[in-house]
């Protein structure tokens, strides 16, 4: 007997109550009650969002223009920004972070896609290979990074990587103690830890490509590479560009890799990242306001990336 409104909402349960005189009022009351019930279910999550997400967002911006000393908070204009930009590590941190993001895009973005293409072709051992690729994603990052730090990146020849290089008569490396290898070493560790998730997402996208497209391309005489270029990539374009964006945002927040692998700053600041600088200022230099300002700068840079991304993808479609 319930009637369904245009919104598909069960609105009226008639029968028990005589309708005509108080009809409008009772409908309004029911609407109100429905709203209140809805809010009652929402309130817990909304309070958590408000206190731990929405409010800190605003608070971060406010904090970046204030300075708190001995419990007294004053407005200081752009002072915090000036101080943070003049930090000797500021530009190094940005350079390192961009370098990491770029390297991670080359390695950590292309590799999972081709691994997914490869895995999608196999008719055997599929489950096993998928579990293997995803296994490192489940490790606590701290555990995986201590493994890399102590056993893989050991600068002597006792380390796993140097032993392998030596076995093939290749030059060994000092890894984290060399200023040039620090970043590539962090990208390798980070890609190993994280690529499983991307591979599985690509695999799901690949499975949605209609087989007839490959069929048609093959009949037209397209080889394997042409089929990848003309069928696979266009068909997965949306997910590919979205993952690129997500990866840039994730890698720009590089933090735990330098902290554990390079004890934070690394040799001659070669590992300092923007996120690490935020942490440094906030919790070691007693400068929460400067750290907040750097956070706002980071937000601005990432918003810039997102803007470019939206413009680019909008043009493509």
């Amino acid at each position: 007997m319930a009637t369904i409104t245009a919104h598909g909402k069960p609105a009226e349960v008639s029968g028990s109550r005589p309708l005509p005189p108080a009809r409008r009022q009772s409908r309004r009351r029911r609407q109100l009650r429905n709203n209140l019930t809805g809010y009652a279910f929402l309130v817990g999550a909304v309070v958590c969002f408000a206190v731990f997400s929405w409010y800190p967002m605003v608070r971060g911006i406010i904090m970046s223009f204030q300075r708190t000393r001995r419990g007294e908070t004053t407005w200081v204009g752009w002072d915090n920004y000036e101080r943070i930009v003049n930090d000797p590590s500021f530009w190094t941190a940005w350079k390192n972070t961009f370098y990491f993001t770029a390297l991670a895009l080359i390695l950590g973005y292309a590799v999972p896609f081709f691994v997914a293409i490869l895995l999608n072709e196999f008719r055997h051992a599929k489950g096993y290979l998928r579990i293997l690729v995803y296994l490192p994603v489940m490790l606590p990052p701290a555990s995986a990074l201590f493994l890399f730090k102590y056993y893989a990146y050991d600068p002597s020849d006792a380390g796993l990587f140097n032993a392998i290089l030596k076995f093939f008569h290749l030059p060994t490396s000092e890894w984290m103690q060399s200023t040039t290898m620090t970043m590539p070493a962090m990208v390798i560790a980070s890609t190993w830890m994280n690529m499983g998730a991307a591979v599985l997402i690509y695999l799901a996208a690949l499975q949605n490509i209609p087989g007839e497209l490959y069929e048609a391309a093959e009949i037209d005489g397209a080889g394997i590479w042409r089929r990848i270029w003309n069928v696979t990539i266009p068909q997965t374009k949306l997910i590919l560009s979205l993952m690129a964006m997500l990866q840039i945002v994730a890698t720009m927040q590089l933090f735990i890799e330098p902290l554990i692998l390079a004890n934070g700053a690394g040799t001659q600041d070669s590992a300092t990242s923007v996120a690490y600088l935020i942490y440094q200022h906030g919790f070691f230099q007693n400068d929460l306001n400067g750290a907040a300002a750097l956070g706002v700068i980071m937000l601005g840079v990432l918003a810039g990336f997102s803007f470019v991304y939206v413009r680019l993808t909008a043009r493509q479609d």
Binding site: L129, A204, L302
Partner: protein
Amino acid sequence: MAADSGTRTLISSAQMRRGRGRYIYWTLLTVVVVVFTLVFLGPLYWMVTGALKSGQEIAQTPPTLWPEDPRLTNYTDAWQQLDLAKLLFNTFYYAFGALVFQLVLDTAAAYALSKLRPAFGNVILGLMLATLMIPAMVLIIPQYVTVIDLPILHVNLLDSPLALWLPAVANAFNIFLLKRFFDSIPEEIMSAAVMDGATPLRTLWSIILPMSRPILGVVSIFAVTAVWKDFLWPKLVMPSPETRTVSVGIYAFSGGTPMNVVVAAAVIAAIPTIVFFLIFQRSIMSGLTAGSLKG
């Protein structure tokens, strides 16, 4: 995911079964299986066996493939010196609490947004989804300041599990997944329940939740692994040795502890997640793609 074996991919099955194609296919498959096993299982093997070696053996060149004199002392030392039992208990406790908080509050919120649809529900949903755009590192400072002095209440949540549980509830991705699943439950079922005089809570409990087991499983897995893997936030809000999580505890001890003992501790910290993964791998794999947009 299981139905894909018959569908056509980049290279046709027929081509792979015949002559040269078959030869290449099997060679490539063997190579990939071996390489992937070395790349992804190799380091784990190295970690587990490395921690069985003595201090001298680990510094030996070239390194030994199998410990010459395997000993458990590193593991027992790690267990005792780092008080791993306590750290593991803490982490389990936080993960379990985060799971309960997220299941109760996020499910209720998603239910309200999907089925009860109060006024301005879409605005609230939009504001929640907007938080997905904000990188976690940007919020870390103001969030910390908020937690040490909660607005209005002026309570300090430092070292209280609530500092992990409540922010975990503000997870827009979970709400999005749950809402999308609830949206797919037919409206007729809801109206039938209303007609039978069921309260909204009763409908949620007896009708919606039993139908939503798969998505609840996915959200639970995400909730537990997120707590287990998280590092910086628990490091900041759980500073005292008694309340640390296992990752933070190992990091805190890593400075003055022999490296084999640290790695042994890292192995022990990883065991619960690996076991968890092997048990739930099917749901984890499907959950990952449940939230993904079809390309």
